[in-house]
Symmetry: C2
Subunit: 267 residues, 2 copies
């Protein structure tokens, strides 16, 4: 899915919501836990209940890897089940020397058919560029994350700017408005205006709304650009809205609240 198609979907659905499928066997409703293929059954119900309200699904690979081979099977079925007009993001935070990043590109863009993958910047340009060669796919580089540990390195000064600013500025120089996004945590709202000075045109993937406490209103006011330029992710707040048999309806209700709020900001 290219930028033009993504923007069109956002306008059509009046939504820039990304639903995070951080599916954890110990947290899904009891009646599903012992079902065969429980993870996929849960994801399928969530997707059916939310697919008209969101423009992306983010699959956090850690939750699937933790289940071993069965987890990878559930992930494959989930990616293949998501409608083609919705962006699929592997939240995998990969990154290695070039030779190895090429293998990760193959893994997520070819073996699995994801549209996008999150990538860690620590190892520098040659660890990220093997993902960017996939021009019809998206590379989503970690910028400023939503966790407490962002203070340890990302927010520290490096040559007159913060490390995360240097990451954004460096990557923006790779001439890739149309297949590069950045992860910016919703809990970092005070940095958003500054971020838009460095990367005015890029899409931002913003996790941390909901369970982690970020404000959708503040992010939308500070960081929306003329192509919207935002995908705001909620995971636990949606998929675990109810722990009972009505989990899918409850997920839809929360997703609908986000979508309605977003429609207001899109006016």
């Amino acid at each position: 899915m290219n930028r033009q198609q993504l923007v069109a979907q956002i306008r059509l659905k009046q939504s820039y919501l990304c639903v995070g499928l951080d599916t954890d066997l110990s947290k899904i409703p009891a009646h599903l836990q012992h079902a065969p293929d429980a993870i996929f059954a849960f994801n399928k119900a969530i997707i059916d209940a939310t697919k008209d309200l969101c423009v992306a699904y983010k699959i956090n690979t850690a939750f699937y890897e933790a289940m071993g081979l069965a987890g990878w099977q559930a992930m494959e079925k989930t990616v293949n089940y998501i409608p083609k007009d919705i962006l699929t993001i592997a939240d995998a935070k990969r990154g290695d020397i070039g030779n190895t990043s090429t293998q990760y590109g193959k893994a997520f863009f070819e073996a699995f058919h994801f549209d996008a993958i999150t990538v860690a910047p620590y190892m520098g340009a040659d660890s990220v560029k093997p993902f960017l060669v996939y021009k019809d796919k998206w590379t989503i580089l970690l910028g400023l994350t939503s966790n407490e540990g962002a203070k340890d390195f990302e927010l520290q000064q490096m040559g007159g700017e913060k490390l995360y600013e240097k990451v954004l500025r460096t990557a923006a120089g790779w001439d890739t408005n149309d297949n590069l996004m950045f992860v910016i945590g919703a809990t970092q709202a005070s940095e958003f205006e500054n971020i838009r000075k460095i990367v005015p045109h890029h899409f931002l993937l913003v996790p941390g709304v909901g369970a982690q406490g970020g404000s959708l209103k503040e992010i939308s006011e500070k960081a929306m650009n003329k192509d919207v330029g935002l995908l705001v992710n909620a995971s636990r707040a949606i998929i675990y809205a109810s722990g009972a048999a009505d989990f899918a309806e409850a997920a839809r209700k929360v997703a609908k609240e986000y979508q309605a709020e977003m429609a207001g900001y899109l006016k």
Copy 2:
């Protein structure tokens, strides 16, 4: 495998060699490429040919993920085949918010039975500590990597020191000599004396000897400590020493050369 056991193995085998199983279907000998279970068959032959010469195997997860589910199956069989007195390292470079890093810990330490995993530091302390809670397992944090891109961020100044130095100094403060190592690329030999000032006691995992051009002699002279404190990895130089039917013998010959050289430095 704890530190004492690892050091004992190094003394016993007179080797601190780690063999990297970066197994790529397109690079293994032609007669194996179409065998059922080709990747495991190749790895098994390499392990049989080198297991008395090395103290660790490093499995680069990217090469397995690139093959989809079949790759994960081959990885599982490989880890389970490695003798228990040899350290198994998942070179996975994971790292995410705490909740998610916990899932990665489960994936590699529980679903698969690795002894160690490589972890990326960008997201800070709370992204690394969920791995360190496994006291009988090793967390191997990226410090200074062997690739060109190390210049982009790792070697840049942050508050009077380089970013990678800050990473080492910060992590060394977590009181984890015995279950934390650092990745330091062999191509960065000029930094090794400095690194030993910051982390004199920790083990270092050193990739980049062989195909990437690092010098075993220089690293050993500059960075060995009283417990040896080094695992030096070679991947392609060993496993692809021959592309013909004699690949395992050829791998053994190269591994034997490394081991013999290491025995000299251990005196």
